[in-house]
Symmetry: C2
Subunit: 176 residues, 2 copies
DNA sequence: TGGTACATGTAACATGTTACATGATTAG
DNA sequence: CTAATCATGTAACATGTTACATGTACCA
């Protein structure tokens, strides 16, 4: 079966397989796990999780277990799933994608009432300050890999904060 | 017509309207304009541009001009389009979305051959170093709003570089 | 006269989002 | 008994991506 041709996994599906390396989990649990551990740089919705699990079960990468209490249905990684994950991991990761609507409003600053723009900026500065505080409150993580991604988040949030603070007064405060 | 109910614009469509404030442009030109000025934090494809232009023409936000040489078809902003743009910028921008596949591989580091992970990291470090050099080569921009977004890019890329360089040796070099 | 860049568009599909429908279990 | 939480799933739609088809104009 080694040479079987399957289209490569998408990163969302692959990450579910990644989590299943730690043992069987239900869709519900996977949503919580994913949002908690990779949510900051890989958004995943409930709908997607159930869809990918169904597709991967179809493809034999996971197997759906019997329904337990509360209809919980645990999914288990198969050997084929393990192999698909290994293949995914070996391919060079795509470059990151950033979609930052606030920067769009900044670019079009000349077409926007200065106080409106300043309000958007102030609001987002707050959001980011909160997120930075949350990251800092986490302290040191036991898992060095998780710690590495947290470190990314910390550096990112500090860079964003510094950016806000370095904006020209005319843009930041809405005083033309 | 002020109270007409239309679903709010998506950010991609809105940004096209933003660019059309500087005068009529063809789809082709808009793709180049967009990729050059907001491409770093808002990806836009050609397909999307033609689709959004057609939809916005339908909705009366832009008007398609006569075909010129080489079948060029310039689109012009209408008053309704100007209004729709103004409504869009008044709404608070959504938080940014970051999708960073490399960080997924880092999170699953324990399930990945160390040299494979180290290779991915080295490759991406290179990519980011190049991008930072490109940004730095741009120098000061005349438009303060464009400069503000460039400044974001510079700070982001420096944060990413510093993150790479601060990774634990065991992760970065693949030496277990 | 042949290749390259310009230019528009469609088709097919993958991915992501939002809202809803349904029911089980727990806690107060 | 009732509200909140747990849990699965579907439906409908929006957005994004890739590949292709078609033709124009320039330039070597």
């Amino acid at each position: 079966m080694a040479g079987m041709s399957h289209r490569p996994l998408n990163a969302t599906a692959a990450s579910l397989l990644g989590f299943l390396h730690n043992g069987p989990q239900t869709g519900w649990d996977l949503v919580a796990t994913a949002q908690g551990s990779i949510g900051a740089f890989w958004s995943i919705t409930q709908s997607q999780v159930y869809r990918e699990l169904a597709a991967m079960a179809q493809a034999g990468l996971v197997t759906a277990g019997e329904r337990e209490a509360r209809d919980r249905r645990p999914y288990t990684l198969t050997d084929a799933g393990r192999e698909a994950f290994a293949e995914w991991v070996a391919r060079p990761p795509d470059p990151e994608l950033i979609r930052f609507p606030l920067l769009l409003t900044v670019v079009f600053g000349a077409q926007i009432p200065p106080d409106v723009l300043a309000g958007h900026l102030a609001h987002h500065r707050e959001l980011h300050a909160k997120r930075l505080a949350e990251y800092e409150a986490l302290g040191e993580l036991a898992d060095p890999y998780a710690q590495a991604t947290l470190d990314f988040g910390l550096r990112y949030e500090r860079a964003v904060r510094d950016w806000f603070d370095a904006l020209p007064e005319s843009i930041r405060s809405g005083i033309a």
